[in-house]
């Protein structure tokens, strides 16, 4: 378990607040991701947990043990924290063989030569690099080097895994493959992990929990599903995926009908049970993902949440057709089947299912 309380780290004599009093808990055995744009403080937070940066204030506990505390002046050296870290640049030592890289963290920790060898080889086997131990490390491909880094991080039996954008130097195909491998290994070993990335797809696919960060603060924390489907903030909604954001006012909240909302082009009904429930008559925002909007040339009968608009433009993107539609002055984006074709300027009807969008307080 990783517990972080009111962690603050500033640079330049306090001018830049890289991490601004954040706190969160990573449950034992889970993978927790810090997701945010560059400069949001996610990497600094990770480095504070590793002990590579010394925070200004706050507290960090790993499995109950205080490794940093400003109050009682505790700072445990990185190598004594029992963390395994995978770096963005892999940080494979180029003058060593694969085996030497993996075995190095085992030195001086009371293991016999034979134990060290077995442990290192086991770690290499776990990442499917058995047989590669005598290769010079720089001769491996990027993906293989990343797996050596992974083996090195787990060889010395760490309590915590730290990942600093480990996949950002790999090409798209390999990234997807490695993502799956990391997730599988982490599950098998049950190691509590903190993962940093700016890639939302990576975060959604790999995490148990995601914390969205911006400007040194945590904006919100949640399961990938909740972060994507029911964000609590505009920032989270916009950072993860594309969203149509519409200003609205709440007209009624009724257990039978659901939330009744007034948007610029008419009225919407929301029956999504897990969405936020703002106070009546308050200003709210309606968030509709483009893929949940349905488009039709003919009128859609007997359905709520139908309104008309006309097509501004459409772009073919392979996986889908991206259509911009104007509805009473509001601009909406919809993603529909790539087999559809809609001419520019066409009059269309838009529809969203009452349970397929969410509402946040404005």
């Amino acid at each position: 378990m990783i517990e972080i309380k009111t962690l603050t780290k500033t640079y330049g004599g306090g001018d830049v607040r890289a991490v601004d009093g954040i706190g969160f808990t990573v449950e034992t055995g889970s993978l927790f991701t810090l997701l945010g744009p560059s400069g949001c403080g996610k990497t600094t937070t990770l480095r504070c947990v590793a002990g590579l940066e010394k925070p200004d204030s706050g507290e960090i506990r790993l499995f109950g043990e205080r490794v940093y505390s400003s109050k009682s002046n505790v700072f445990v050296a990185p190598s004594r924290r029992r963390v395994g870290m995978v770096f963005q640049s892999y940080a494979i030592w180029p003058h060593m063989t694969v085996f030497q890289n993996v075995a190095y963290p085992l030195k001086g920790k009371g293991w016999s030569r034979k134990e060290m060898r077995t442990r290192a080889l086991d770690a290499l086997k776990m990442v499917n690099l058995d047989g590669y131990e005598d290769r010079p490390a720089p001769k491996l491909s990027g993906g293989q080097q990343q797996r050596v880094a992974l083996a090195r991080a787990m060889a010395s039996d760490p309590k915590v895994f730290l990942f600093d954008e480990p996949l950002s130097n790999l090409d798209a195909k390999l990234r997807e493959e490695m993502r799956g491998q990391i997730r599988q290994l982490q599950r098998e070993l049950g190691i509590t992990s903190l993962y940093v990335t700016h890639d939302q797809v990576e975060a959604l696919s790999i995490s148990d929990q995601i914390a969205i960060m911006d400007g040194g603060r945590i904006i919100e924390v949640g399961r990938p599903r909740d972060i994507y489907l029911h964000p609590h903030s505009q920032f989270a909604a916009q950072f993860v995926g594309l969203t149509n954001i519409l200003p609205a006012s709440l007209k009624g909240d009724d257990d039978r009908v659901g939330l009744r909302l007034e948007v610029p082009f008419g009225e919407l009904v929301c029956t999504q049970a897990e969405t936020n429930r703002p106070a009546p008559d308050s200003r709210v925002m309606v968030l509709i993902r483009p893929e949940n909007l349905r488009l039709s040339i003919g009128k859609i009968e007997n359905q709520p949440n139908v309104w008309s608009g006309n097509v501004i433009s459409s772009t073919f993107l392979g996986e889908f057709l991206d259509v911009a539609v104007s509805c009473n002055g509001a601009r909406l984006r919809a993603r529909i089947s790539p087999f559809s074709e809609v001419p520019d300027g066409a009059d269309v009807y838009l529809h969203v299912a009452p349970e397929e969008f969410s509402v946040i307080s404005g």
Binding site: P78, S79, Q88, W93, Y104, K107, G108
Partner: protein
């Protein structure tokens, strides 16, 4: 873990000791010499404070005369080096002149020849009595008198200038190479004519590099000892370096006055170095030097390229082949005589045989290897500590440590030797008269050079490589030994070899610090010159050049191998 143990880790002890040694080496001698200028007795005696040294030194015309000579010498010889070196750089980088490899090798050659040997070779060439070229021209044109006199201000300037074309060549070649051709193309697209385009774009962009190169030459010129000693002293032309040298040779030696001269000398070099640092700072801002390898347009000289080639080869023949050629010739002669077919029958290996039977030669060689090797080792070790502190830590004062370690670059060899003499005659540390004082001097003088090499290589080691080690092992020493040092080992070796070759070349330091029994090779050559043993001197010079060439070759091999590995 208690509080004391936490702060007194090996890491802190080692870094603290290394910085302490660097500060001691660089600052204490200067403080001692400054202290000496305000006292009235030789070092190590009871003294009282006085200003009379300053009154005497700065009140005499001699000081200002030397200052004037030093500056004129440095500016004029720098101009020769710059024009010739810059021209050669332009030819190899920006034209299609053939045989560039030959040009390169010849231009680089002076780097491995000690200044004392080149200076003596020009005496062989241009002395009014024995100079080969003088005799040749007298014979050829039936002149009444020899046309050249090396023993003149012009002679001194010529010798230093022609010997220093390598530095401006390398710096200007780098400047030409790193210029983005799109800047020139942009100028060509505009309405400027080619001449105005060259002036407004090339010259203005290159101006900081030009100024930096020229300032470096100026500092070298102010500092140099060989030409002023071998040529200036007999010609009666005094500069700062020879002033101090002669003041220390006088007996009784007035150390206080010599030290006061040194303050003026130091002032000039410090101003030069400060300007240089400022200009190179500006040069970085111009940022024409990026990591990108540009392929600038080369100018097609057409048939003219053979004319340019012959011009270049003629220049290099005079600058490089003639000086080393005459030394080589003399090394095979029983006595000094201008080359001729008749003399060729006297060809002999005796000089080489003789020096290899000479005890003094072996002693000087082993002194050189021991003191140079020790100095190179210490300088590289200190550089690793300083560079690591500067690059990898946020310890307060690290910038200052960097500057202090770099500061000996402004310290001329004779001034530093004087300061060290002063220091070790005062302090109860018995190194005066031993090889150790040479080691100390070499370390101090060359640490800026090894520091730059180590600093650059540390910057190339990705920070995460060290952080991964920091997470792996608690022992800082183990991480340094097994992770960092092996990564920068090739650069350390190259730095080590480079410092070693410098100790084989420099005369201005051992000339004041060597004593009977602690001579090094440049001092031995200087001594042989003063006693007129030209043939032996030449043979020894050739052996020395061969040794330096060998060491440089090894360094080259290491750097080639390493860069190939890094690219793979």
């Amino acid at each position: 873990m208690n509080a004391v143990a936490k702060f007194l880790t090996w890491k802190h002890v080692i870094l603290f000791v290394l910085s302490g040694v660097v500060l001691y080496l660089t600052l204490v001698p200067l403080i001692m010499i400054l202290y000496g200028t305000f006292t009235d007795g030789p070092p190590g005696t009871d003294v009282s404070f006085t200003l009379k040294n300053y009154v005497k030194a700065y009140g005499s015309a001699a000081l200002f005369h030397s200052a004037f000579n030093s500056i004129v010498f440095a500016v004029a010889s720098g101009l020769i080096s710059f024009v010739l070196g810059g021209f050669l750089a332009w030819v190899t980088e920006r034209t299609n002149t053939p045989f560039k490899t030959v040009i390169y090798l010849l231009v680089l050659f002076p780097f491995i020849v000690p200044g004392i040997l080149t200076t003596i070779s020009w005496v062989f060439l241009l002395s009014p009595t024995i100079g080969v070229l003088n005799q040749f021209f007298v014979f050829l044109f039936g002149l009444e008198e020899p046309p050249f006199d090396i023993y003149s201000f012009a002679g001194m300037i010529w010798v230093f200038g022609i010997d220093h074309i390598t530095l401006p060549f390398l710096l200007m070649a780098a400047a030409f190479r790193s210029m983005d051709p799109s800047l020139e193309e942009a100028a060509r697209m505009s309405t400027m004519g080619p001449v105005r385009g060259f002036y407004h774009v090339n010259l203005k962009i290159m101006f900081p590099s030009i100024l930096a190169t020229w300032l470096l030459l100026f500092i070298r010129g102010i500092e140099t000892f060989e030409a002023p000693a071998v040529i200036g002293i007999p010609a009666g032309i005094r500069v700062f370096a020879t002033d101090i040298f002669l003041a220390l040779r006088d007996s009784p030696t007035d150390y206080n006055l010599a030290g006061t001269y040194a303050t003026a000398y130091l002032f000039v070099t410090v101003v030069g170095v400060l300007l240089y640092l400022r200009v190179t700072g500006i040069a970085e801002r111009f940022a024409t030097i990026t990591g990108k390898g540009y392929r600038p347009h080369t100018i097609d000289l057409g048939a003219w390229r053979y004319f340019v080639l012959s011009l270049v080869l003629a220049l290099l023949f005079v600058a490089v082949v003639l000086p080393i050629g005459i030394v080589l010739w003399t090394s095979f002669m029983p006595f000094y005589a201008p080359p001729s077919l008749k003399m060729l029958s006297l060809f002999t290996w005796d000089n080489y045989r003789m020096i290899f039977e000479l005890d003094e030669f072996y002693r000087a060689l082993s002194n050189n290897l021991i003191s140079g090797g020790a100095a190179a080792t210490i300088a590289v070790m200190l550089s690793v500590g300083v560079a690591w502190i500067v690059v990898r830590t946020d310890i307060p004062g690290r910038k200052l440590l960097d500057i202090v370690t770099f500061s000996p670059i402004a310290l001329p060899g004779v001034v530093m030797s004087l300061a060290l003499v002063w220091m070790y005659l005062t302090l109860p540390i018995p190194v005066y008269g031993t090889l150790w004082i040479l080691v100390i001097a070499y370390v101090t003088k060359f640490i800026p050079i090894s520091l730059r090499a180590v600093h650059a290589s540390l910057l190339h080691v990705h920070k995460e490589l060290e952080e991964a080690a920091e997470l792996s092992s608690t022992s800082w020493l183990r991480n340094m030994t097994f992770v960092l040092l092996p990564l920068i080992l090739p650069s350390l070796l190259i730095g080590w070899l480079y410092v070693l070759t410098l100790t084989f070349k420099v005369l201005s330091i051992p000339v004041l610090l060597s004593h009977v029994g602690t001579e090094v090779l440049p001092v031995l050559i200087f001594g042989l010159y003063e006693s007129g043993e030209f043939s032996q001197l030449s043979a020894m010079g050739i052996v020395l050049v061969a040794a330096i060439a060998g060491i440089s070759g090894i360094a080259r091999l290491i750097s080639n191998r390493f860069s190939v590995q890094a690219a793979a």
